[in-house]
Symmetry: C2
Subunit: 211 residues, 2 copies
DNA sequence: CGAAAATATGAATCAGTTGTCATATTGAGA
DNA sequence: TCTCAATATGACAACTGATTCATATTTTCG
């Protein structure tokens, strides 16, 4: 339907004004994450969400303007959580190389533990592309900044760190999809080792190219 | 709805038995690619597809079992085309390293020229995950085989080429999404150069680690 | 040319969903 | 305890969009 021209869509209701309200809202949000994660955005009905939350359909609209809005909220929320998790896991790294390894491992582990993240985020792309782009543009900016710092410190080669950031995000994304979600591994040592080797030495046999 | 247990979905109608039929079917397939690409799978109605193809709604069901089926067909078709394109572009490469550069460039150019590919494929993931997985599993197998060959020839370091294949696919995917689709660039020299440097030297300043 | 098969048509059916609303319940503060 | 604003309820109105089907039209080929 996509906003049938002149109609519907009650815009964001105000925030809850009671402890009870806050609790209910949180339950619905949580239920939405699970339901979207399990069924996907389109197959999941408001009914499924409210049933999972243990409230009546109508209650949904006390806190959220509609299906799209709760998805947006979810994506924002997830973005914060992932970044916080990765930041924490990277914290003690000696240099950028170690940070990359830790970051990759942390991402894979996070994805294995929170598979809904992936599905909700990826599906958001087709519901509201802007929020999906924001997620990755924000992420990539932070990533590129860290690489720039490492460049300045002489820890990594000079080069276009924006390009590198997108490449590295993509690589994590696919490795996560394949090994954490599809194959459902719980040990990522060998994967991290393979990528670590790539980061350190590139692909060629000996690193004797342009130094 | 997800196949309501006991119902609907007329299974694949037979192939057209007339030149006219073949033409009509092709027109619908083409229209579906454009329509899904422009509106997305869910927002695109059968109506939109048939209108774009210049036929009546009912005609659609003469050739396709339903909306999901035409999507499947599209994904399969696209898979063949991309692989053919990349294979052709890589053909004359002297070594694996050059093949990687050419492959990345070819992928970015293909995506810029066929943006529907991306959208249809990515969205297929949430309509019929199996076909999406097949697409990438097939692709990755071929990719890993090529890397294995290069390993044997001593062109690249030994290592887990399956992991590498997924990492390389992911990296291309994200670079394509960002630069070909979102930023709509038409020149990818600098991106290919950045990644070429990564492939040759890894990230660290000098390549003097474990040789 | 004259069936018979293959195609084409589009109105009607049918299932399923979102978002609304009038009505009840709850609980915090006076 | 009483009152009122905040919440909760769930039946239902209003739509959307996929698929079907009885009915034309076109093509093939004997």
């Amino acid at each position: 339907m996509t906003t049938p021209a002149s109609a519907t869509k009650a815009s964001t209701p105000g925030a809850p004004k009671t402890a009870r309200g806050a609790r209910t809202r949180a339950r619905i949000l949580q239920a939405a994450e699970e339901t979207f994660g399990a069924l996907g955005y389109h197959r999941a009905g408001i009914t499924d969400i409210t049933r999972a939350a243990g409230v009546a359909q109508g209650t949904f609209y006390t806190y959220f303007g509609g299906k799209e809005e709760i998805l947006r909220e979810l994506v924002l929320d997830m973005g914060h959580k992932v970044r916080a998790h990765l930041a924490a896991k990277i914290l003690g790294a000696r240099d950028r190389m170690e940070a990359e390894e830790r970051g990759l491992r942390a991402f894979l582990e996070y994805l294995a533990a929170h598979p809904s993240l992936y599905r909700v985020l990826q599906e958001a792309q087709f519901v509201d592309e802007a929020i999906y782009r924001d997620y990755y543009e924000t992420f990539s900016r932070g990533y590129a900044d860290m690489l720039d710092n490492a460049s300045r410190k002489g820890e990594i080669r000079p080069g276009n760190n924006e390009h590198r950031a997108w490449a590295l995000m993509g690589l994590s994304h696919f490795l996560g999809m394949k090994y954490a979600l599809w194959d459902q591994r719980d040990n990522f040592d060998d994967i991290v080792a393979t990528l670590s080797d790539l980061f350190h030495n590139g692909l060629p046999l000996s690193g004797r190219d342009k130094p």
